[in-house]
Amino acid sequence: MYRRTVGELALTFGVSGKLWKNALIMYDRETGTLWSHLTGEAVWGPLEGEMLEPVTSVPKIKWNAWKDLHPTGQVLSIAGTEYIKFDNYNDYHRSRRTGLFEPGHRDNRLRDKTLVLGVLSGEDRKAYPLDKKTYKTKQKNAWNLIQDVISETPVIAYHNPDQYATGVWNRRLSNGTTLTFPSPTEGHYATDAEGHTWNLLTGMGPEGKKLTPLPHMNIYWFAWADFYPETGLWE
């Protein structure tokens, strides 16, 4: 997800019909420039070299979880429909195929179709596998957190496999304090070492404090590693 504004211009994007490293290439209607939807970079055309600014989003979350979080939210509706049952990529997800083409760069640290949390922290890239057993605890709706440091940024990665949901945040507050979380979550809430509770899907904490989000993707390892061969991997 990106801001569409480049300089003063708010671009509008269409589907070019081209793929780069198996991922969608967009074009903007204003200049005809081609953009990678995975990196936000303009790869050809008058705006070549420009980068779209990523917007932190929740890359995947179950409807029930999201609607409880945001009862005043709005849902995309197309021809009176907000939902379709059929995922026409279903067979693809079940298969070993890496898209229409073989990845240009294959990283064998993980299997191709492993789902990972791909995190962008400044110039750094790091992937955290989304296997359930890393996050599951013996208790229902209590999830293990990943606390890490990427270059000098202390991060926290939250994943709730029941709801698909993910949240990735900088653990350092604006006042310079770095939070640590000694225990698993309760749902999407986690309590830090000082006893304060934070919502790890919205980043909201006590007294109006808010964690700084890190852009991230819920993505297949083969795609992430093809775009970011330099990626770190959580082990």
């Binding site: 997800m1 801001r3 994007f13 780069w20 969608l24 989003s57 409807w63 429909t81 939902y83």
Partner: protein, 92 residues
């Protein structure tokens, strides 16, 4: 949509009209064969009819919250939206 993609892929790779930036860009469909959304419409959470487990992509900006069905986005790939006053592109 999928069989359509494969038929076109066979036709187009046979004619190999690809813009080879770093030899990695492949043209698989005509431009706009997959229709992006330019004027998205929304309904409120209470009006929306969505299966409880449906995977959604979601964003919150300046107190405004939008969600998009992932399976519906399979057919459009891009939504040109404005959330909390910010023009954004939701891509899938």
């Amino acid at each position: 949509m999928r069989s359509f993609v494969f038929v076109l892929l066979l036709t187009l790779t046979a004619n190999a009209q690809s813009r080879n930036i770093q030899n990695e860009i492949h043209t698989v469909l005509p431009q706009d064969a997959i229709p992006a959304i330019f004027d998205p419409e929304f309904v409120s959470v209470s009006q929306a009819d969505v299966h409880k487990d449906a995977p959604m992509i979601a964003v919150s900006i300046n107190g405004e919250h939008h969600a998009y069905s992932m399976y519906m986005l399979n057919r459009h790939e891009i939504v040109n939206d404005i959330v909390g006053g910010d023009p954004i592109a939701t891509t899938w």
